[in-house]
């Protein structure tokens, strides 16, 4: 009898062990995993999502698919995730856009109704002018604005988006020398600056890189200089405080995902971020790597929410 009990317990134990030590047994298992991109295919966030999906896919048999659901400044896609079952099979490509959309009341729930699982990167912004413009530094652009009020304009890629908050924060920190002009999307903003409709703009790094020789970068909004524009000073170096560092991106899911599943997803993201293809892609696009998971990331999102809500209140977009 004793041997029988011992035998049964050994069998039971051995059945439990794989589940206990191997994360891959907890997640993804069986059904496909979808990562919701709350923007149209082909944009900056979408490309990052597809790169991380590609890297994550290398380590799992279960298909990981990208779903695009644009609309309401990322609110529509986020709502879809908020409604999903918290089982780790519906994830959100979240980040600063999720925070600003929630604070503006564009999502059905607030930012705390999401589980934040793992962060991917910071994508700093670049303040740039036309290469033929007389301004060589950010200081000169500020000075020109002070000399002729209303003449110097700075464009951003859309109301409520982070480039908007950055342009307003910078303008305020510089003593309001400029007129801030909204555009519908980065492409329209580039036309605006290239066509000399506005003097300067807040761009993503890749946009400025593609227009090399036609746009002159004046400052990067990161804490440290970036690999793409090593010669361009950061706003921090230039003495500006509380300027958003660019767009931050992470993987989140609906609230209530079991902790072991969250850990498994986070470790899968961590592995993907060490994939040579991802590393090369991140370097070539000038992405600043940040990896935080679960509790640490939750705390970070809380700080980010506080900072961004201050900015949104300043520009009157807080709901």
């Amino acid at each position: 009898m004793r041997t029988l009990i011992a035998l049964i317990s050994v069998v039971l134990l051995s059945a439990m062990i794989p589940g206990g030590i191997s994360a891959s047994q907890v997640w993804p298992e069986g059904r496909p995993v979808s990562i919701m991109v709350p923007f149209a295919a082909g944009g900056g966030t979408d490309i990052i999502a597809r790169q991380i999906q590609r890297a994550m896919q290398r380590f799992t048999e279960v298909p990981i698919v990208i779903r695009n659901m644009p609309g309401a400044g990322s609110g529509i896609g986020t709502n879809e995730v908020l409604r999903a079952k918290p089982d780790g099979h519906t994830l959100l490509l979240s980040g600063t856009h999720t925070v600003t959309a929630a604070l503006q009341g564009l999502t059905a729930g607030s930012i705390i109704q999401l589980d934040h699982i793992a962060s991917l990167n910071w994508d700093p912004f670049v303040i740039a002018v036309l290469d033929t413009a007389p301004y060589k530094t950010l200081g000169e652009l500020i000075e020109a604005g002070k000399q002729a009020p209303g003449k110097i304009t700075i464009g951003h890629a859309g109301v409520g988006a982070l480039t908007h908050l950055t342009s307003e924060a910078l303008n305020k920190a510089a003593g309001m020398p400029w007129t801030v002009v909204p555009f519908e999307g980065g492409a329209r903003l580039i036309v605006g600056v290239l066509g000399n409709v506005v003097t300067s703009g807040v761009f993503s790094q890749s946009e400025v890189q593609v227009q090399a020789g036609r746009l002159r970068p004046l400052a990067v909004t990161s804490l440290r200089r970036t690999t793409l524009f090593p010669a361009t000073p950061t706003t921090t170096e230039l003495g500006f405080k509380n300027i958003p560092q660019g767009s931050f991106r992470a993987i989140s899911g609906p609230k209530g995902i079991p902790m072991e599943v969250r850990r498994a997803i986070a470790s899968s993201v961590a592995r993907a971020m060490n994939d040579p293809h991802w590393i090369q892609y991140a370097r070539e696009s000038g992405l600043v790597k940040t990896y935080m998971a679960n509790e640490e990331l939750e705390r970070y999102f809380a700080v980010l929410t506080l900072d961004l809500s201050k900015l949104l209140r300043q520009v009157g977009l807080m709901k």
């Binding site: 149209a40 295919a41 082909g42 944009g43 979408d46 490309i47 597809r50 590609r54 990208i66 695009n68 659901m69 609309g71 309401a72 400044g73 609110g75 529509i76 709502n79 503006q104 564009l106 999502t107 059905a108 209303g150 304009t153 859309g158 109301v159 409520g160 007129t179 002009v181 909204p182 555009f183 519908e184 492409a187 329209r188 580039i190 036309v191 605006g192 290239l194 066509g195 000399n196 409709v197 506005v198 890749s206 946009e207 890189q209 593609v210 227009q211 090399a212 020789g213 036609r214 070539e284 977009l317």
Partner: protein, 495 residues
Amino acid sequence: MEPLLQGLAFVLQPTTLLWIVVGDIVGIFIGALPGLTATMGLALFLPVTIHLDSLTAISLLLGLYFGAVTGASIPAVLFGIPGNPNAIATVFDGLPMARKGQAGIALGGAVIASFIGGLISTAALLAASPALARFSLLFGPAEYFSLAVASLTIIASVSGSSLLKGVVMGAMGVLLATVGIDTMTGVRRFTFDNPFLASGIGLVPVLIGMFGITQALDDAARSRDLHQIVTQQLGRLFPSLRQLLGMWRIILESSWIGTFIGLLPGAGASVAVVLAYERAKQISPRPEEFGTGRLEGVIAPEVANNACIGGGLIPTFTLALPAEAAAVPILAAMVIHGVTPGPLLFTSQPHFIYAIIFAMIVANLTTCIFQLGGIRVFIKALSVPPALMPPLVILLSVLGAYALNGWMYDAVVAVAAGILGFVLKRAGYPLIPLILGLVLGPMMESEFRRMMIITGGDMTVFVTRPLSLLLLVAGVGSLIRQLVHQRRLAQKGAV
């Protein structure tokens, strides 16, 4: 010379050709299904291309793009539902032609026209890219605003019998376009705290509703004799060479309208096709027959929508600026594959550009072949009993609208638009100005406000910038001409 041959050699590889053909066929089906747009098809296929090399990837996407734009003419002609916004104007004469038993020649003519339009704009891409790209930069907020005003007044004044009704409908479209988040201040307008209304009233659901559902309701109400198309022979597929040569001016002008509107970011094919249609009406010796089933009325917009592709790719390649939403996935494919679009592309990688140009030519040709080959299959769709047609069209419309984003909301918008369209049509109000108002409203409003922010409220800028002034004059001119025309008609009637 060498890059040219390299490009040609690349496209003539069997694998490249195979992928272009795959793109074509998928594209034709996407175009033919109401609600599925070229942009959506391209976005869906973007992940597939990640595993191909850069040129094959872009060739596949180009095949899909041409296929989807051309394929949209099928439901436009057969059911009166534009497959996507590129085919709005194809409905005007395409459906009447089908009802007259000329579905074959309308569909065949549309394919030939698409081929010619695609070819001419590809030539423009090859010959004048850098110059045309610079032209698109001349368009600032003032010019965009004036372009929108001019397009809207031209359409409002020429469509329908009454100038007033046209203007009312245009204004209604602009008003509907204000629903959603204000892109200049972030304020929500008419959204009633509904997240779907916050993203605005979509163009495609309204389009599907106002053409598909409205038409079906209209047919059901009149219980119009629909069997003719079913019982009649398909007839000829090709317009004769003489017919085509007789339309040389319409074809050429439509190509240019398509190319130019295509290269302006934000204007889009739906504007180009309507402008090309109206221009064809002006050129034609029998403008009054437009809308009753004239072949020119199908040719002009079909030339223009394919010409928009070449036009839209000019700023995409030379400035890295996608002019149309559909160009975004193509740009993304380039970025993913490490090909940097922009002014340097033409000098640093000429073989790449030549390969793309050849791929466009091949994509055009193969789309033409496959769609012509498929017409007899598509026409089988017509062998449904006539009494079943209206419910079938309504079903297709609702499904199409739902398929757009997977939202019930879009299907509801389509049904509402269908009923509204039916009522308005019965009352003699033209629907096209409303659709165009919906397209142009946001552009008109935001460009105006952007200009006001920049100039600090100085409105003279719209008349002091020559290009802007020219466009405004064209718009006002068409209003005056129509007023004079109507007065003359009224006098004749009095005598």
